[in-house]
């Protein structure tokens, strides 16, 4: 029963957060200075009547919301207009119908852009995350086990150094190295191979993923390593571990049955948070390796004030962060039953 109430509370908070993001998303980009019609099109060929026609096409000729014509600059308008004729209502109505709109920039449906970019990002960052989690946790475990030995200190320093490496710098270094060793240095696939057999294409994508994934793994494993090490060392200094030792259990048994589960709590938190942000992509890695992921999409959309794409991407990121956190909360209640009662 307690568990059920805990669950309900967490889920409803998550739903509320997403609702809040939905509304904030709409206003956030509209208070930015700049005009989507004029962004990137400062050119005398683009005349006033063309601009007006475009404004009508995007629905930007309508007031943002009752009483406000525009938000930046703030232009107060009629409060007595039909609320169904405002940009805000149309935005909400489209969302309810599952419509994310049409990109101002590419004129393609936002949903298509998001799905394609999301898949690319998940592929790259997902692989990088999984690798860095595995490598980081293993090294951290080993370091804590061999605490205050040369192994521990080298692991510690490696963790600190890799964690503080600038991502783009490491990426460029690996890229220069890789280009001399036959690795493709940009993109997701070799262009012009769409008609090749599937096995070739999969191998091709894997080859393109090597350098960016390696960069990602090196940069992000440090965090897991350090957290795992310190958390496990905390646990190992507890009295009950001493008791376990006194009972004559082997180090392996102590780690496996007594220490690890408790030491995993902080790791689960970071993994959950990082997984949420995974969707946002690693914009620097994407930029260095010309990887067509979500990070790049956000950057382009911001440049062009492409509201529908921005709203779509931010919604996606918000939803995934919230869901990842929800999963972490639920995992907590399993790993540490105390949290339900608090």
């Amino acid at each position: 029963m307690k568990r059920y109430r805990y669950l309900l509370k967490k889920v409803s908070w998550s739903a509320f957060t997403i609702l809040f993001v939905l509304i904030l998303n709409f206003f956030l980009f509209r208070v930015l200075p700049g005009d989507p019609v004029k962004a990137g099109t400062h050119d005398p060929r683009f005349k006033k009547e063309n601009q007006e026609a475009m404004r009508v096409r995007f629905g930007l000729d309508k007031p943002v919301i009752n009483c406000f014509e525009t938000l930046n600059p703030i232009k107060v308008g009629d409060c007595w207009i039909n609320p169904f004729e405002t940009q805000f209502f149309i935005y909400i109505r489209n969302l309810v119908q599952g419509e994310l709109g049409i990109s101002y920039h590419t004129n393609g449906p936002v949903a298509d852009i998001l799905v394609e970019r999301l898949w690319n990002t998940l592929l790259l960052i997902g692989a990088g995350q999984i690798l860095s989690i595995i490598v980081g946790i293993l090294f951290g475990l080993f370091a804590a086990w061999k605490a205050r030995t040369v192994i521990d200190y080298s692991a510690l320093i490696t963790g600190l150094v890799t964690w503080s490496l600038p991502t783009f710098w490491l990426g460029i270094i690996l890229l220069f190295w890789g280009s001399g060793h036959g690795f493709p240095i940009g993109g997701r696939i070799t262009p012009g191979t769409s008609s090749y057999p599937l096995s070739y294409q999969i191998a091709d994508i894997a080859k393109h993923m090597v350098l960016p994934t390696l960069t990602y793994t090196i940069v992000y494993m440090g965090e897991y390593l350090l957290v795992m090490r310190s958390s496990l060392m905390d646990v190992l200094s507890e009295d009950y571990i001493l008791t376990a030792k006194a009972k004559g259990l082997s180090t392996f048994q102590i780690l496996k049955d007594h220490a690890l589960k408790n030491a995993m709590l902080p790791i689960v938190t970071i993994i959950a948070i990082n997984l949420g942000f995974t969707v946002a992509g690693a914009i620097q890695i994407e930029a260095v390796f010309s990887w067509p992921g979500l990070g790049g999409a956000v950057y382009e959309a911001l440049e062009r004030r492409d509201y529908p794409v921005l709203q779509g991407v931010f919604l996606l990121i918000a939803v995934s962060v919230v869901i990842a956190n929800l999963i972490a909360d639920l995992m907590y209640s399993y790993l540490d039953p105390r949290v339900q009662t608090e």
């Binding site: 700049g34 990137g40 400062h42 060929r45 080298s154 190295w177 940009g186 262009p191």
Partner: protein, 569 residues
């Protein structure tokens, strides 16, 4: 003891890391010849001959009506034909038309369209497709750029399968130029998308045209894959395919060429030029770009007394910038050659007016620029009453109310502007003018620029069309409400000449008017034009041969090069 161990480990790690770093950098040196890293070699028999081009951008769309980025127009020019074609030597030739005839009154153009041209899907192209296309651009007012070329067109009709008649509202001196952007699309496909909103929502992914190349595959921000149209009536390509691949980082773009993953790159940072020139397998070409660009220092001259408040004008500029003497002094205090040497590493020519030297005959090369002379600049300011009354090193306005301290803004996506701004701040500091430097998001900059006129000085620039009309319009009063007149400059004599050059049919007379207009704005020091940037492109000499260079303009991805290049034997 333990601390000591830690120290040793740290040193060893640092060494290992630096060794790794050094090793990685050394492999960045040019590849050994004979070991191309590309997946296919053009010499291999049986495989298609593929040219790989690296560029930093990607087309935003394949629909000519909604294209904004230059990359989109590069692709349009390869896949579509037009009535007239603009060439690298700066002239126009007839493309799908075999003859053009103008009526006595200058209002009716009759074009004879060639026989036997086929679209990429096998359907014949006739004069009806041509007329349909021009009408498409004419009728769709929310087509971003191409609608502007049809402003003076009254009717466009195909009288039979080989004849197109265009009647005009006013005679135009530059019909060839106007028609060189109106890409011919197939009526049998576009008839369902002829009107808004379908015309702008159409993604045109199959992109059927008649040009020398046809669309195979387009993936936004990844690549554009084109195949040769070997049946093209004038320019059948010798190669089989072209791939344009996007590399987002400029350094990586350069690396893709040195490592042989691409055969040609369309742009590069100036810092990479020297390295590439030292590579025996790579040839760097520089010169006036196909669409020359100008950089400009924009002075806010909008008068608060006469502010365009109805379109959001605020007119908050520093009053001293409305005084020609101040602008003239700043022009004399600007060492343009030093700007070129430092900002562009020498790859530019000194600027003069908004019409760049790359526009050939339209550029008024008889004008003499204000020479770099710090003493003269100081003298001009002294004489005009701008003296440093409080001895803080910065001059004050003659009434003593405001120091000559100007805000200088530039778009944050500009690579060159920060250096340009630092240098100008140093140079102008010499004559007692101080600057507050700040990069601004480009959209926010547009918002403060014009027609708000809520700034002092902006560093920006313009791309250009081959025809001077649009660039000249930037100084005209009529463009103030549209937001393209960035300075608020308004001169009835200039406006009068601008109208005249738009209807003067005699090219020589039109050139004289255009030159006179440049003289007026140069005398009034409306802008300072620091430089005209050159194009820098490069190709691998061990892959393809026959590139068209040495013309008035440099553009390796122009159709003229792509249809004649051949693999190196």
């Amino acid at each position: 003891m333990k601390k000591y161990t830690l120290f040793v480990i740290a040193i060893v790690l640092a060494l290992v890391l630096s060794a790794c770093g050094g090793g990685a950098q050394s492999t960045a040196e040019p590849e050994q010849p004979g070991e191309p890293a590309a997946t296919q070699s053009p010499e291999e028999p049986g495989l298609p001959v593929v040219l790989r081009v690296g560029w930093a951008g990607s087309p935003d769309t394949l629909n000519p009506g909604t294209g904004v980025l230059t990359e989109a127009y590069t692709i349009f020019a390869l896949v579509y034909d037009t009535i007239y074609e603009y060439r690298l030597d700066g002239t126009y030739t007839l493309d799908v038309a075999e003859s053009a005839e103008l009526s006595e009154d200058g209002l009716t153009w009759t074009f004879k369209i060639r026989d036997g041209i086929k679209f990429h899907d096998g359907q014949p192209m006739t004069a009806r497709d041509v007329a349909f296309s021009v009408n498409l651009y004419k009728n769709n007012t929310d087509f971003i750029y191409l609608n502007a070329y049809t402003t003076n067109f009254d009717t466009v009709e195909a009288t039979d399968d080989n004849t197109v008649v265009i009647t005009l509202l006013n005679p135009v001196p530059n019909m060839d130029y106007l028609l060189s952007y109106l890409y011919i699309v197939p009526e049998h496909i576009w008839k369902d998308y002829a009107e808004a909103p379908a015309s702008t929502e159409f993604e045109n992914l199959e992109m059927i045209g008649t040009g020398p190349f046809k669309m195979i595959e387009y993936r936004q921000n990844e690549f554009v894959h084109l195949g040769a149209n070997k049946e093209h009536f004038a320019n059948p390509p010798k190669i089989d395919e072209v791939i344009f691949q996007t590399f987002e980082s400029p350094d990586v773009l350069v690396q893709s060429l040195t490592s042989g993953q691409v055969d040609m790159i369309t742009e590069m940072p100036a810092t990479a030029v020297a390295t590439l020139q030292g590579d025996a397998n790579i040839k760097v070409v520089t010169g006036a770009p196909f669409a020359p660009s100008v950089s400009d220092v924009i002075f806010n001259q909008a008068d608060p007394e006469n502010c365009p408040t109805d379109v959001g004008g605020l007119c908050t500029g520093h009053p001293a910038l409305r005084d020609r003497n101040v602008r003239l002094a700043l022009a004399h205090a600007t060492d343009k050659q030093k700007l070129i040497d430092i900002v562009l590493l020498g790859f530019g020519t000194p600027g003069l007016t908004l019409i760049p030297d790359g526009l050939g005959p339209w550029y008024n090369d008889t004008l003499v620029d204000y020479e770099y002379d710090v003493e003269k600049a100081r003298q001009i300011l002294d004489d005009a009453g701008y003296k440093d009354t409080d001895s803080d090193g910065i001059r004050e306005t003659p009434d003593g109310s405001r120091p000559l301290n100007f805000k200088m803004h530039w778009p944050s996506d500009s690579i060159d502007a920060p250096r340009l701004a630092e240098l100008l701040s140093e140079m102008w500091g010499e004559v007692g003018v101080s600057l507050e430097l700040q990069a601004i998001d480009p959209d926010a900059l547009t918002a403060e620029c014009c027609p708000a006129f809520d700034f002092d000085i902006i560093l920006w620039g313009w791309g250009s069309d081959p025809d001077p009309n649009l660039l000249l319009s930037v100084y005209s009063t009529g463009e103030i409400p549209n937001g393209y007149n960035e300075t608020g400059y308004s001169n009835p004599a200039y406006d009068e000449l601008h109208a005249q050059q738009g209807v003067e049919l005699d090219p020589e007379k039109r050139r004289e008017i255009v030159w006179e207009m440049q003289k007026i704005v140069h005398d009034d020091v409306v802008y300072i034009i620091p430089y005209y940037e050159q194009a820098t492109q490069a190709y691998r000499v061990d892959r393809f041969t026959g590139w068209i260079t040495g013309m008035a303009k440099v553009e390796l991805s122009d159709v003229s090069s792509l249809v004649v290049i051949e693999p190196v034997k």
